[in-house]
């Protein structure tokens, strides 16, 4: 049957992770793997459960997600606006693009000493790091997206009387959207990486705080819960990005969900 086959195909990607967890559990039980290095999966699950019940988990995840999204909104929003500006207006391009391309080559993590000097170990330091990291993928892809809009379509639209905002809304923005969404996807990945680093350096709350705190008390199970949470949140962000692509790029055969 086609349905059972497609269901089986849906399960295939999960075979390897499930086997890995089974092997890990077996290695821990046989004593081959010390709890100090890696606790057994069951212990991680238990730690997860108790953190969930105490409400700690919910609070920390909410705080970390809030920081990530705020950083994304600031950095991504600025990147989008500046990308649209430099992509659309020649003056803005000559004025800003060279500078931005130079700054782009500075790895955000290299700024950590400066960021600590400027902002201390405050909330704003974390927001700054995330914002500066997500800025460039969105800026570059927006700029590139606007630049690569089909000139033939723009000419056609102009000859049909479209100009100004109507031309932008009908032709230029939709034409740049695939590229902008690629930038967003890159940014969502970077967003978590930078937040992890920022929270690990110093934090009074959030997932990073939870794991660093657990390290002090040798609670490897809690540390692992934190690591897995980051993985889950990263995957979730990717799913959201893909959902956006399917929604906004459904006209493009490359983004249409495959018909099995």
């Amino acid at each position: 049957m086609a349905t059972t086959r497609s269901r089986l195909r849906g399960l295939t990607p999960w075979i390897v992770p499930l086997l890995a967890i089974a092997g890990w559990e077996a290695a821990s039980r046989s004593g081959w793997l010390s709890t100090r290095i890696l606790p057994e999966p069951l212990a991680v699950a238990q730690a997860f459960w108790s953190l969930l019940q105490s409400g700690e988990l919910e609070r920390d995840v909410a705080i970390s997600t809030g920081r990530a999204l705020a950083g994304l909104a600031i950095g991504g929003g600025l990147g989008l606006v500046l990308g649209l500006l430099t992509g659309t207006f020649r003056t803005a391009e000559t004025l800003l693009d060279t500078t931005l391309q130079m700054v782009r080559n500075v790895p955000p993590l290299a700024l950590i000493p400066l960021v600590i000097l400027w902002f201390g170990i405050d909330e704003s330091a974390k927001l700054f790091l995330v914002a500066i990291g997500v800025f460039f993928p969105i800026y570059l892809n927006t700029y590139h997206g606007i630049k690569s809009v089909d000139a033939g379509l723009v000419e056609m639209a102009r000859s049909y009387g479209l100009k100004g905002w109507a031309l932008y809304r009908e032709v230029i923005l939709p034409g740049a959207l695939p590229s902008i969404l690629v930038g967003l996807r890159f940014s969502l990945g970077l967003m978590w990486v930078l937040l992890i680093v920022a929270e690990t350096i110093s934090a009074q709350s959030g997932i990073g705080y939870m794991t660093m705190n657990a390290r002090e008390f040798l609670q490897t199970d809690v540390v692992l819960v934190g690591v897995l949470l980051y993985a889950l949140l990263g995957k979730l962000a990717d799913l959201v990005a893909r959902g956006l692509e399917r929604r906004f790029l459904r006209w493009n055969p490359a983004y249409r969900p495959a018909l099995a």
Partner: protein, 263 residues
């Protein structure tokens, strides 16, 4: 076949060019073009690639500005009739992120745009594809949508820049028939740029040849419509224009046998 046309016949827009010229940098693409097209006339412009025929059409469309002379439409300046001129490009240039219907509605008022766009789609035989994305259409269907998008504005001058150049032979003939039917029904002025002499002879009242940036042939086509590709008069005219384009000696001259050299 009787169909409901989208609009009552509109009068065509006359075209008048005097001493029109266009340079790109130091390259002289067109010079001293003088041309009058009567309202409602169908003119075809043929020529080898790179002869400037597409540039001439783009000047008529207002997509390029002339470096000498001016384009006058309906006896007035070009800018006054901008909304009455529509162009069909070699590629359909449909917006891939808009449905077929939304593409036809481009630049129309929201109020009655939908109904008019549907009528125009029905006119080109694609009423049932209104909700599709352009990506799923064939090349011929895309050009039909592009034609509907042009017609919905009730143009008085329709410019066709080799719109059938990329289509297969059968689809081409179908599209030629469609364009002719629509032109006869709506009475707009039509200027078609093509490299296909047969297409020019099949559709046009006059065939112009552009060579080295000037009009070097202005041949009226007096055949009755609809024109049969196979008729002797058609073939004779097509052969004559083609020979002129290729700068061959006319076939008539070749019929006289050359004197043989006898050693």
């Amino acid at each position: 076949m009787q169909r409901d046309w989208i609009s009552p016949p509109t009068s065509g827009l006359g075209v008048s060019l005097a001493a029109l010229g266009k340079r790109f940098g130091d390259r002289d693409v067109l010079h001293d073009i003088a041309l009058d097209v009567a309202p409602g006339e169908f003119v075809a412009i043929v020529g080898r690639s790179g002869c400037g025929k597409s540039t001439l059409l783009r000047l008529l469309a207002g997509l390029e500005t002339p470096t000498a002379g001016a384009v006058r439409l309906g006896g007035a300046a070009q800018a006054e009739h901008r909304d009455e001129v529509r162009i069909m490009f070699q590629e359909a240039r449909l917006l891939p992120w808009r449905t077929v219907l939304q593409n036809v509605q481009l630049g129309l008022d929201k109020s009655d745009g939908g109904a008019r766009a549907r009528d125009a789609l029905a006119q080109v035989g694609l009423a049932d594809r209104a909700g599709d994305w352009p990506a799923v259409l064939s090349g011929g269907q895309r050009q039909r949508v592009a034609l509907a998008r042009a017609l919905v504005h009730r143009p008085r001058l329709l410019l066709l820049d080799e719109p059938l150049g990329a289509l297969d032979a059968l689809t081409r003939i179908e599209m030629q028939r469609l364009i002719e039917t629509v032109w006869r029904e709506l009475r707009f002025t039509a200027v078609l740029v093509t490299h296909d002499v047969a297409e020019a002879v099949a559709l046009a009242d006059r065939v112009l040849l552009v060579e080295d940036g000037r009009v070097t042939l202005d041949e009226p086509v007096a055949l009755a419509r609809p024109r049969a590709h196979g008729s002797p008069a058609f073939a004779e005219l097509e052969g004559r224009v083609l020979a002129r384009v290729l700068k061959e000696t006319p076939p008539a001259a070749e019929e006289t046998p050359r004197p043989r050299l006898v050693a």
